[in-house]
Symmetry: C4
Subunit: 364 residues, 4 copies
């Protein structure tokens, strides 16, 4: 008889049974030698928690505020593309699941459902992620629709002037299934994303055609001019850039190496988080994604200074496994594991999760 | 023909042949990713002993005193539950074995034999371990019975406001065999421990119902008021908590991560021992358990500052293998290995086992 | 259907299908325990790139100057012997490929085609590599021919007073195929290179007979007196020797451990590069070879201070796979990967690739 | 067809085919978890040589003096017992081989041939190794015979007040073959060495009966009083004991952990060598054994400060493979590899092998 998933890794195994090999590779793979994918995990596995005892942990509430929004836990969905590749409900399922769990959902620009459909399904907070397109009119249109649909922040991905060399996709000649579209963008603009050619990634070809690699800090002012929504930068990995972002008045940062799918090898997200948190010094919230596979990882990231932790691949695993309820179950599990870790670590409130609660580099 | 065990690992192999898979998993498993289980061993395996030569090692006596009690060696049985799961003689067998070997036996609160039966069988010193139950009357009753039965100290486990996520037990739907009871507690109080439900650990369910997660340092006074017995805290992993315990006048500490069965990942016991010993600075005896699998490990822990070293899983292996004589044999082996290590390390007396006798972090 | 190579490792697999086992071993093998071969790779795999974001990377030109010569990228062919062992076109194929790609080609003294044939086929810059022979007249003749044929520098290999103990060659009784000759040297001088004897390497026997192991710094003056060509030393691994070379007025250095084929174990090339760059302090260009297997490795070496990066075994893999076009394809891939890495690392110009762009020793 | 051994490891494979499994285990095994056996090798494998170039290495003589005796290379046979277990020629074969190679031979107290037979066969220098027996008359007799037979030093093993727990021997119930005797000792004294009992090592039983574990520094005077031969202590692993030995006027030290056969885990021999060399500061020669498996290892040990390097197990492998010629071949190979390493490292004389020639702890 089937046992419900009892750890995040269970969702991975369950998803693999559901997904076509090339879609699995698209989700699972990283760029280059996939060294960063491995390093993201290794960084968490090298952390040791330092528990305090005889603290009243009869309740360990996980609720938090992020940019003025309440979350049931410092957790959210990292932006990823084309959820219909994982499940027919696509982003509507994800929105149901995230809403049920009370966590943040950062909707990807290449969502396979419209912003409006997703917003209609959502019962929790939504942010919208954007790549910097050459077609600024398209960005302006998306930002306007996001405001109308009730999205609460814009996330600008800054680590992707082009798509990383994802060898699995190149070998598979990966293209997006013709039945799955980037529902928020013109079919014309997206045509190449469906192309299947040996040795080529349709995703990468499309980005080369449409992304604007000339983005600089000076361009932020234009984005800021579009809406009053908070602007969050995703893909910061150094203290230097974190300080620069703060100087430019961004409302938040997401430390990310794009799940090891862009530059490879690069700094694992947990180590970059420590560097960025030190540089930001409280000036704005710092979120993180990459390699989080359980509540102890969430706890670790919080101890290092993250405000909220975003989950990427596991959301797609959970969606593939069981649609919206799968996503809700994933976040329920992560929240439960976080609460459990808080209890065993003697940190009953999020504010108790201090830097002394974790040692990042175990001995040996 | 059968060869008697010549190293602790031999007991493991012998036990595995005797135990049902779910009981084996219950004993062997850790929580989470079992990273702490592995780290406990790795810490000992990364130690190097620094021998002195041309020291008279014709005799290497291992006898010691602990809280006023003589032990044949600085060794003891760490508290574990339900010894009848391992062998029909249960804790009576363990008491026989520990007594024969002349080592300390810390009886678990969830012993499958009564404190009085165990005391009747014992020829060596006994301590009683307690979890902090909501039912303080039950604790008071156990403490009173312990005094009457001649137990010499109370050990309060402080790392278990709830049970760790032991995935093996969750997958097995582990519940305690109906024929095995926590003999010192009301059947009513223990009913859920026998429940077998897929995806659930009966042990964890029971603890959630009955353990009091609100325990704080202020509560120690109540326990102290029950008896004049020494009070020892088990489950301290940080220097901060060790100092706090000393400030609260505890009589001893047991450095432990519960054999990797509670918070995971956390500090390996050997490294935590070094931190705690430094913090305690001689104010009270410091014991340790977790990952000790031979006499050189015992020697290493003593060099780092342990007063006595407790043995967990190997006692259950020995008990499963051959009952009380198995336990006696295990401790005879450990004592012999310790004495052997003292001779080869040029430390003929326990007092000679100084910090310079071990290097904790080998190169490479 | 065949997929074109999408990473350097693909060329390796393709080459293995083409080459006889003893030739494969000759190319692939290192000396001793092949610890240096492994260390060369490990050093690159332990590097982490530190990307900057929101930099205009719409173009990332890779063109550079090296000793007055333009290169399409800071890349070149490391000197290796007997390219006809890999492909019938031999060095003529390599010259075609390197020329097509616009990279440097350091022709090996033991080329299987004449310097003049190679020069005739080349459309890019050529350097000539020399071992220090007892027959100085032969060296003088080669230097004179190199000048006439338009070679632009002499590279003196200084790490080979004798040939390393390459156990694969000894086991194979390796000798050069009788159909393949060192086309620039007298057949008499090379006779032993074709000898096949169990337990013996013909290459090593020949070197023992003909190389002059008495070479010292004082001998450089003689070489300098032969031509006005720049002189570059190959095989420097320490800061001490790098400073000494600068004091002797050399025009360039190639940090190299001969691809792990000479002394074993020794410093991996990337770590030696850092030491040499610091010692040279800008006095002359520093090149490097050894373990470079992709554009991120090239980027890493540039960040550490290399002027140009030479490629050894992969050129032979590419040549074996597809002759000159294979070599051109290899360098096109490396250049593309370098340009890609520059874009994702936010360093659009070679001059932007600073030391802060890489962390050499990852944590864990 | 058979290929002659081209590296030390080849001798291992060849020997294994010749030896009975229990004899193989006796030779190959270490004590405890065999962690020290592994650590001895790992220490050498983590060293990196730092070569200098453009040094005249046309000749690299390896001849040296040790305590007034000329050796063809700084190499020797470490003392081991019962060479007839490996080959019918026993120590006579070893003496032939060592003599042919011109290296030191430290004859073991438990040689299976008489001191006089061995001396008659030897053409190179001999030392005699002794354990500290309760029967001092036996020691005195052996010392007197050694003087008469022309042995040039006494080596007192100080790391064996008892025999390490060698689990392989215990499992095999190992006893010395009845046809093989300790030829220099009374049969009565050695009777238990032939006993085969499951779970017991005859070697260990015998040592427990006959070795004097009360040896202290004060006892050295008695040994000194027996002869005018130099006295060398074998089994020193710490700077503390090295200084103490120097204070007691010993003529030499052998850094050794008994090939990982006594205390386990302990400091690998190479790391202990560095510590001892620093402590001795030139006051007497320091030799080393343990984990040396090639000429680069010998070079490394010399760079760290060893005067001469002793070889244990490989001598028995070579003897098992081919008797005296095997031993001669082993040392010829090691000498050739050392000379080769000197050439490639740019250290043509032993005196050039300075501490800067090696980095002990590679990065990563």
């Amino acid at each position: 008889v089937a046992v419900a998933p009892i750890c995040v890794e269970d969702f991975r195994r369950l998803a693999r049974e559901k997904l076509a090999p090339d879609v699995w590779d698209y989700i699972e793979g990283g760029s280059g030698g996939e060294l960063t994918v491995a390093a993201n995990r290794r960084a968490f596995e090298r952390a040791e928690l330092r528990p305090r005892v005889m603290v009243d942990v009869s309740t360990c509430p996980t609720g938090t505020e992020l940019l003025g929004t309440h979350l049931s836990a410092p957790l959210g969905v990292a932006p990823t593309a084309y959820h219909e590749l994982a499940h027919a409900d696509g982003e509507v399922g994800t929105a149901h699941g995230a809403g049920t769990a009370g966590v943040l959902y950062v909707v990807g620009m290449f969502a396979s459902r419209t912003l409006e459909e997703i917003a209609a399904a959502a019962t929790g907070p939504l942010w919208l992620q954007l790549y910097w397109l050459r077609r600024r009119d398209v960005l302006a249109d998306l930002a306007a629709r996001a405001v109308t649909a009730g999205y609460r922040a814009l996330v600008l991905t800054v680590d992707a002037p082009r798509i990383g060399r994802r060898l699995r996709d190149l070998r598979n000649g990966f293209g997006v299934d013709p039945d799955v579209d980037a529902a928020n963008l013109d079919a014309d603009l997206m045509a190449t994303t469906h192309r299947r050619r040996t040795g080529e990634s349709a995703i990468a070809v499309h980005a080369a055609e449409t992304f604007d690699a000339s983005l600089t800090w000076a361009d932020l002012a234009w984005l800021r001019g579009l809406t009053a929504l908070p602007i969050v930068l995703k893909g910061i990995l150094t203290g230097e850039d974190a300080r620069r972002a703060v100087d430019h008045g961004v409302d938040g940062l997401i430390v990310s190496n794009h799940g090891g799918r862009q530059l490879d090898p690069t700094t694992p997200s947990l180590h970059a988080l420590a560097e960025v948190v030190a540089a930001v010094d409280g000036a704005c919230p710092v979120l993180v994604d990459g390699g989080v596979r359980g509540g102890t990882d969430v706890f670790t990231a919080l101890a290092v200074g993250a405000s909220t932790v975003l989950i990427g691949r596991p959301v797609l695993w959970a969606l593939a496994h069981d649609g919206g309820p799968g996503v809700a179950g994933l976040f329920a599990l992560l929240r439960e594991e976080l609460e459990h870790t808080m209890a065993l670590a003697g940190r009953p409130r999020l504010a108790d999760i201090d830097r002394a609660a974790v040692r990042l580099d175990r001995r040996g």
